[in-house]
Symmetry: C2
Subunit: 325 residues, 2 copies
């Protein structure tokens, strides 16, 4: 739950985040016990609730008194996120997430397909209840873009040919787009003008890029018990993240790195890969890119009114950039 | 394509159905060739386009001049249907549909998960463009209900314990709900009053029940080359349809039938099952139930104004009830 990620930013919205947790349970409470059990499973695993936090804080910039609407929209953003996680865990054949069995690991791929659809249907019903048509359209396109980008990645060519530009495009669609949507959702849902909605969207996008680069870094460097899943998952799944892309271009050991990536799957190989990345300064490079997106995010905040939510969003950027798991 | 199902009902809307076909291609035309190929695959397989036809004909009862809106909504109904087919084919491990490879058979389950999500996102973006919030809410709930009912079915108990009431509830959620939504969609999207929307919804529901009972009958009785998939699929998948439920309750050979259903999977068994069902009058019974839902559908039409679309909907009922594949 959010308590396990005591971001300073969350102090500003702790009551509302509690209401989002209750709303999540309520929306996923079905008259069919199996449906409740399977669809609440990803919610019970906790998570940072970043997207609801973005909706709630972004919503403070325009008609913050529309609290019920903000809680509904914040819940729908988390439900969309959960739906994509449940389906992505099928695609990635992931067994563990946040230290717990994934839906596909516990109930099988086929049940996970349906559970993701149910979560998505629930999310959009909630968006229809609390959002404008602009909001619904924006979120539907986001679902479409996320699936498209996964399809392209999954059906993709040789990963060793990936460039930094391809990587940034991929994490933009995979992660940053829904975070951008979330950051603008609360304000857009209340009819805020472009000078509020625009910076919030750009802020969410930059935070999303920063967040995903750090996430991919941690996949290689954080202890597995803190990650809640095995380290090096991206390498095993054939996904080239930023440190790898940097090292393949810059490292004096790139021939060896390429050979490992094309052949190896063992944990000994992972240690060797990490060694190569360390020596080529690839982790520092990736962290530098994450920092630059954090700077973009802070710059967007400067365009918004000075209210407590603005400081909270700024704190959130720091927490995400400097986190260790 | 619809040309291969020359329902008399379609003469009334043939231009509009052509526009729906073009809109389907247009919506699924992506800048990523793989995405276009995979997501257009289910559309290229043809199909009866029942849901678009229901939207178009239902839309004739209120502000029929809003043609672009009707075509948008009709296309979105078909996209939602396609999304559920692509995901259901994963769940049912189906290789063939309408004589062609399913998406999961050709590109694998993981790509099919993403393709279904893409189709659903596209559908809802189109609904957001052309529908009211009421329409969006209604369709989102429908997606949720369909997934819920599949989850319950899939995680279900011993199929031999299924009753006719359970079966009707299951096909209502699986098929009739989206057809009810489709029938009311065009009128609801233009703000039609309850005396138009209500009978259209009830008509679509009854047609959906009639359609699915006949579909399940044909799964046992139609030649496989006309079905475009192997016969007896429901039996192999452990799904009890109406003739089976009837025979398990009424046939003098029910002990033998039960034994076959619990053990057998071969095509010899299928012949024996069909023989038992024939001798117990179970096909006639199921057809009788389908006919009674057809009568309900026609009764709902009587509540609507006498325009050509009303006759077309009535013709559609007959075509669906008396079809042979």
């Amino acid at each position: 739950m959010s308590q396990s990620h005591p971001f300073k930013a969350y102090e500003e919205i702790s009551d509302d985040l509690g209401a989002v947790e209750r709303k999540l349970r309520e929306v996923l409470q079905s008259d069919v016990p199996l449906v409740t059990e399977v669809t609440q499973h990803p919610a019970r695993g906790g998570g940072k609730r970043l997207r609801p936090a973005l909706v709630l804080l972004g919503g403070r910039f325009y008609r913050p008194e529309e609290r019920e609407r903000l809680i509904g929209l914040a819940t729908s953003a988390e439900l969309i996120h959960m739906a994509t996680l449940v389906h992505d865990d099928i695609v990635d054949r992931a067994d563990k997430r946040r230290g717990r069995d994934t839906v596909n690991a516990r109930w099988g791929d086929r049940m996970a397909v349906l559970a993701g659809d149910y979560l998505l249907g629930s999310a959009l019903a909630l968006v229809a209840e609390w959002g404008t048509q602009e909001v619904i359209s924006s979120l539907s396109r986001c679902v479409q873009e996320m699936a498209k980008s996964e399809m392209r990645q999954f059906g993709g060519v040789n990963r060793l040919a990936t460039t930094e530009a391809d990587y940034l495009d991929w994490i933009e669609k995979k992660t940053a787009l829904l975070m951008a949507e979330s950051a603008q959702l609360g304000a857009m849902g209340s009819g805020a003008p472009p000078e509020i909605v625009g910076p919030l969207w750009a802020f969410g996008r930059a935070v999303g890029l920063c967040f995903q680069i750090v996430d991919d870094l941690l996949d290689l460097t954080a202890p597995p018990d803190r990650l809640g899943k095995p380290a090096g998952g991206d390498i095993r799944n054939g996904v080239s993240t930023l440190p790898i892309i940097h090292a393949l271009a810059e490292s004096s050991e790139r021939a060896r790195l390429k050979a490992i990536l094309l052949d190896g799957q063992g944990s000994d190989d992972l240690e060797e890969v990490v060694g190569i990345l360390r020596r080529s300064g690839s982790f520092e490079y990736a962290f530098g890119r994450a920092s630059s997106f954090a700077a973009v995010a802070r710059h967007e905040l400067d365009k918004l009114p000075t209210i407590p939510a603005r400081q909270a969003l700024s704190d959130m950027v720091d927490s995400l950039l400097y986190r260790t798991h």
